[in-house]
């Protein structure tokens, strides 16, 4: 089976103009969301407790709310349905009164008149752990990004590295904005999703950059726009196929993975779309905007090739015993 029988060259660079406008617009929107609405930090970062309780019958959410609202230490708790009618999630903000107590028992006692239930999950995180996580999360994120940028610079060119990193940050920012839109708590799963997205997005960009480099070295064309268009067009079938398979894999995770993993699956679902889009319409265009000069690149490569040639010649001479 074939979808793209013949490679048609599309003018991606021309479309990228609109892509950039859309991206700038979306990024600004995302920043507005960060600024005006902000993330809802989950217990992993803010500290506090989160309980997941399953009732045998429909969960009496209103009753639970009333009980918790009138109990010292549980004020400000959020009670919500979680995946199914029988299941509730209770989020209890960090409270000194509760620290050191065994919440399993306390909650069990408090709610014992609300019906038969089972505490399926109970997480408590101290505020100090949350802070440490925040620092570690940011540190690992920054280090991972820097290391990837270094590698791309080493393999390609610094403008390409910069372009890929900007595109990647763009993907992460927009995906993070969707985390706010869908009201997902900022927990470790979300962080894991964003980190995966970084890997995925750079992967996608590199495949295209690799093609661009290959074209630059094989055609002696000095028109970077032409080279980019050819490269993206040639990798188009691969890009779409891969994105679709990853998209479907993540989709099954989203559909069957259950409520517990939604903080991972939903951001990934969105991230895959933006990661694909940005590697085609944002990253290459950015490399041009950053002042990538194909002539300079050719000259440099030529010099490198000459040097290699020279070395080879010397070695041959040496091996033939003429030195």
């Amino acid at each position: 089976m074939e979808i793209f029988k013949k490679v048609k060259i599309f003018d991606f660079v021309a479309y990228s103009k609109y892509g950039l406008i859309v991206s700038v617009f979306l990024t600004l929107g995302a920043f507005a969301l960060f600024f005006f609405k902000g993330f809802t930090p989950g217990i992993d970062f803010a500290g506090g407790s989160s309980a997941q309780i399953r009732y045998e019958e429909t969960a009496p959410i209103i009753e639970i709310r009333e009980i918790l609202d009138t109990t010292e230490g549980f004020k400000g708790s959020q009670v919500s349905e979680y995946g199914a009618k029988q299941e509730v999630q209770i989020k209890i903000p960090y409270n000194n009164l509760l620290s050191g107590k065994n919440l399993n028992v306390v909650l069990g006692d408090l709610l014992k008149d609300t019906g038969k239930f089972e505490i399926r999950k109970l997480d408590s995180v101290g505020p100090k752990v949350g802070n440490e996580l925040k620092q570690k999360g940011i540190l690992s994120l920054v280090l991972a990004t820097l290391a990837m940028m270094l590698y791309v610079s080493f393999r390609y060119e610094w403008r390409f590295a910069l372009a890929s990193i900007v595109a990647l940050v763009h993907d992460v920012i927009i995906t993070a904005a969707f985390v706010i839109i869908f009201n997902i708590d900022l927990n470790l799963e979300v962080v894991a999703a964003l980190l995966t997205l970084i890997g995925y997005s750079i992967n996608d960009t590199i495949i295209i950059f690799d093609r661009i480099r290959e074209k630059m070295l094989s055609n002696k064309s000095n028109d970077i726009i032409e080279v980019i268009n050819e490269a993206i067009s040639h990798t188009l079938s691969r890009t779409l196929l891969t994105s679709l398979t990853v998209f479907f894999v993540v989709l099954t995770l989203y559909l069957f993975g259950g409520e517990n993993i939604i903080g991972f699956s939903l951001p990934m679902l969105i991230g895959v779309v933006f990661g694909t889009y940005s590697s085609m319409f944002v990253a290459p265009k950015l490399a041009i905007l950053f002042g990538f000069n194909i002539q300079e690149y050719h000259e440099k490569e030529m010099k490198k090739a000459k040097k290699r040639e020279e070395k080879k010649r010397l070695r041959e001479m040496y091996e033939n015993g003429r030195v």
Partner: protein, 526 residues
């Protein structure tokens, strides 16, 4: 024969055999290295404890004070106001001429700095010693907890250090709130046993005395819980203990004359001597048995107690007494622990999670494989083969390293399936491209792999760099995810680039002149 088995195919087959062999224990629960399921998948209790190292230092100062006091008494030097503070030990000497003797005593103690002002001494630990105490406090806490949990008979508890002063305790199989409570007590109980002298002189006024006043006498006020757990109020004790729990050699459950369970303990020879000397010199006075800052009993000493054994009674149930014996036997915690993070997952949720991830994994896999075969025909079948081996390899490598499979780890595997397919897609697309350009099959395969490998290497190495950093700096969920993706990437390089290439090389003689490109690669040439 030589043409069939090329170097790449052999690597691939070895990888496949290795993957299958080491996956079997995990998949069929047989003997051998197995992947352990994370607590989020099998249910259990996960505690992150912080060791209050500053308390360990405080305790060290207390024991430093008591040993200085002991030495001084031996040398017949009278010390005034000997006191252990949070950040040092202070005392005065009455007779300035004793300074030489005291200096000599102090010079024999390692790791301390003596600050002296006329006859007042202030002794603190130096930086190295403090670092040492903190380090020991954590490692001792870990071995103590391990010891206790082993004796408690829990299946496969794991106790590991996290960061500088945190300890992660994972207890699979804890199901009920009672079990949880008991385990938690067992872990966090400091089990600090002390014998202290009752200050009979001032004890009568204990109920009106302030803590500050007690301190002036060199005393402390402690709650007296009494024999059967009832509240007896307070009791005034000499702050510097006669004996510390570190002289304890054994503790076990016994029964008193009323057939109530008590915990009897024995002391080592040094402890027995101190115990004997003290009891001999203080007949008619009371001595308190203090556990974790609570006085359990304060019997009057009727005669010198030799042999170095005693008992703690406190209206315990048999279970409580046996847990207490375990905690005493396994040693005191050098510093109190605070639970700073607790995660518990019920077994039913764990099962649901496993089911959900299995469905996601299998359906994702079927989807991808179905698509690959439909789209790429035989090339898709070969890719599928590589993908299956890839999964086996992930399981095998994780089993060998004893890695733990968590929910985010499952997500990592699901994602790896997606990304591993990418490598195959890139290769197949390049292959087709070369075929369309009019190359013959052999050349197309060579070109396809040469071109694809470069891009795959570049992208995989960047992802690998990211997973290594995530593993190094991430915590918990992020680590679990980084492990599976990292292993997945390596496995995908082995299976996709090396493995499938070897396969093509093996069957090349067969397909070199094939007319049926559609059957092998899913394309038609016009």
């Amino acid at each position: 024969m030589k043409q069939v088995f090329n170097f790449r195919l052999i690597v691939f087959l070895c990888a496949a055999l290795f993957g299958i062999a080491f996956s079997i224990p995990s998949l069929f629960q047989t003997q051998g290295p197995r992947i352990s399921l994370g607590l989020d998948l099998q249910g259990g209790l996960n505690l992150l404890l912080e060791v209050k190292t500053e308390e360990a230092i405080k305790a060290k100062y207390a024991s430093l004070a008591s040993s200085i006091g002991f030495e001084a008494k031996q040398k017949q030097v009278i010390l005034d106001r000997l006191r252990a503070k949070e950040d040092g030990v202070v005392f005065d000497i009455i007779d300035s001429e004793d300074a030489k003797t005291i200096d000599m005593v102090l010079s024999k103690i390692n790791g301390i700095i003596t600050q002296k002002q006329e006859d007042s001494y202030n002794i603190v630990f130096d930086e190295k010693e403090i670092g040492e105490i903190e380090k020991n406090a954590v490692s001792q806490a870990i071995s103590t907890i391990r010891n206790r949990l082993d004796q408690f008979g829990l299946s496969e508890p794991s106790v590991t250090q996290q960061g500088k002063s945190n300890i992660l305790v994972e207890l699979p199989g804890i199901k009920t709130a009672e079990e949880e409570n008991r385990a938690r007590d067992l872990i966090a109980k400091s089990a600090h046993l002390q014998m202290m002298a009752v200050d009979e002189e001032h004890n009568a006024r204990v109920h009106t005395m302030s803590a500050l006043e007690a301190q002036k006498y060199g005393d402390v006020i402690l709650p007296f819980v009494g024999d059967d757990g009832q509240d007896f109020g307070k009791i005034l004790l000499k702050a510097i203990p006669i004996l510390d729990g570190d002289k304890l050699t054994d503790a076990r459950v016994a029964y008193d004359e009323n057939h109530q369970p008590v915990v009897s303990f024995s002391l080592d020879s040094q402890g027995a001597k101190i115990f004997g000397d003290f009891s001999g010199a203080n007949i008619g006075k009371r001595m308190a048995i203090v556990l974790d800052g609570k006085v359990y009993s304060a019997p009057v000493i009727r005669q010198r107690i030799g042999g170095g054994s005693g008992q703690i009674s406190g209206g315990f149930s048999v279970e409580q007494a046996s847990d207490l014996a375990i905690t005493l036997r396994s040693g005191a915690l050098p510093a109190p622990l605070e639970v700073i993070e607790k995660r518990s997952v019920g077994p039913s949720l764990g099962q649901d999670s496993i089911r959900a991830s299995a469905i996601a994994l299998i359906s994702g896999f079927v989807l991808v494989v179905g698509f690959m075969i439909v789209y790429y025909s035989m090339a898709g079948v070969i890719a599928t083969f590589a993908l299956v081996v890839n999964l086996f390899l992930i399981i095998a490598i994780m089993s060998i390293f004893g890695a733990t499979l968590t929910l985010p780890g499952m997500a990592g595997i699901v994602l790896t399936v997606g990304v591993a397919v990418d490598a195959n897609i890139i290769i197949n697309e390049r292959l087709r491209e070369a075929l369309r350009a009019g190359e013959n099959v052999m050349r197309a395969i060579q070109l396809g792999y040469a071109n694809a490998s470069r891009a795959i290497f570049d992208s995989n190495i960047t992802s690998l760099i990211a997973s290594v950093l995530l593993y190094a700096y991430g915590t918990g969920a992020i680590k679990g995810f980084a492990i599976t993706t990292g292993i997945g990437i390596i496995a995908s390089i082995i299976t996709a680039i090396i493995g499938t290439y070897g396969f093509y090389q093996a069957i090349l003689p067969k397909i070199a002149n094939t007319k049926s490109l559609n059957f092998w690669f899913g394309i038609r040439k016009d």
